[in-house]
Point group: C2
Chain length 240, copies 2
């Protein structure tokens, strides 16, 4: 789909997407986190932020803007790693990512930054309701953001929120072609769909959404557990 | 595409794929690691493995088969984590993954396991040459495997080898729509293509390859740097 005009707080993003592209039954609509955040008013100006002592100390260590670090800490339940110029945090919602997901590219205004949606699964449910109201069809919705990974270079898109989609496709217990039980093959399909959608997107063009077709088997009537189901509990995690 | 017959060492997998599907210019052919490994004879029988003292000790701690652990250690440059029943290793080729990528599903024979290809980028180059010989077109080739991730549940496919593809699409330095330089947006497109391909695949059906179209901008004449370019150097990594 084409770019939308610059988004602002209160914009009905779902209705805007529905007006710009034909949505079919069983489609998955993947919407960029930044568009969702802007429509939800999650933009902050660094000039209006006052950094506290912890943020100033950490910012000095990492060579970062103390006001940005103040926002990151406010968004974080814990700091997972702070080394070099990298600050990896666990957000209050349980996502682990650089700078608690705060981003400063593609924002008008020199000192504006964009926070993650407060509850990305709720954002996905709301977008789905807007799409249903606008076009009479409830596609699955993914709110997608690009995260770095340990061990590997480059970012990939992950689903930080979703509605109407089974985020994990669990093959455990189903037989393989030899009749043996498949082990350890729960597939993070929501993340894979977010990645597939990104391949069609021009990062500089401000296109906020992509449609993925052919995955009706993963699309459900009810909103389902959301992307929260993809969060590995801290107690079972070996890397925080 | 449909399933192929059970693969064995010496099978010309590229020619078999070319015979089963029409390949076009600019296509990306994503081939499952397991198919590549079988064709390369990377199958081992646990009954023929003798576990040494280190493997026996670690296996007892983790509740694993000592012969499997022996194979994992032989494939590994270092153990990154060993806790609960999880053994995460860095392979000699620099991949960080559970059990050094050794897998035991979808293999005929009760005690057979499949190792990763010795050099997955070389495997991708060889497959590409076979495809070029068989159909006169050299598509990009990805050798794909499913890895777990820290922090998130479920597996996603990653490119462990590739040829004829720019594995990282680097947006750094290009301007965003406000004319500011985009930061930290090198996209791991090879991994995202591997994930996209997986959405079309039935894990139990033994389908070894999928074709991704529409990404000609990422396909190159020369084989390029391979998926080795996606490996984060250990010295820059915060999680090993």
């Amino acid at each position: 789909m084409e770019g939308l005009p610059e988004l602002a707080e209160g914009d009905e993003l779902g209705a805007m997407i529905a007006a710009s592209v034909a949505i079919g039954d069983g489609d998955v609509v993947v919407v960029s986190q930044k568009a969702v955040s802007k429509a939800e008013g999650r933009v902050r100006r660094l000039g209006e932020v006052r950094a506290g002592p912890r943020a100033r100390r950490l910012a000095a260590e990492l060579g970062k803007d103390p006001r940005l670090v103040e926002l990151v800490l406010a968004e974080s339940a814990r700091v997972v790693r702070a080394r070099g110029s990298v600050l990896i945090c666990e957000t209050h919602g349980g996502l682990v990512c650089a700078n608690a997901g705060i981003d400063s590219s593609n924002i008008p205004g020199e000192d504006a930054v964009v926070l993650l949606p407060r509850d990305p699964d709720a954002s996905a449910r709301r977008l789905r309701a807007e799409l249903r109201a606008a076009c009479g069809i409830a596609p699955a919705v993914i709110v997608s953001d690009s995260f770095g990974r340990p061990w590997r270079l480059g970012q990939t898109e992950v689903a930080i929120g979703c509605a109407g989609l089974a985020p994990l496709d669990d093959w455990r217990g189903r037989p393989d072609r030899e009749g043996r039980e498949l082990s350890a093959t729960a597939v993070a399909v929501a993340d894979q769909i977010a990645s597939a959608a990104d391949l069609s997107r021009d990062k500089a063009a401000g296109v906020p959404a992509a449609i993925i077709r052919g995955l009706r088997r993963l699309v459900a009537d009810d909103d389902g557990p959301g992307a929260a189901a993809l969060l590995r509990p801290a107690s079972e995690d070996l890397f925080r």
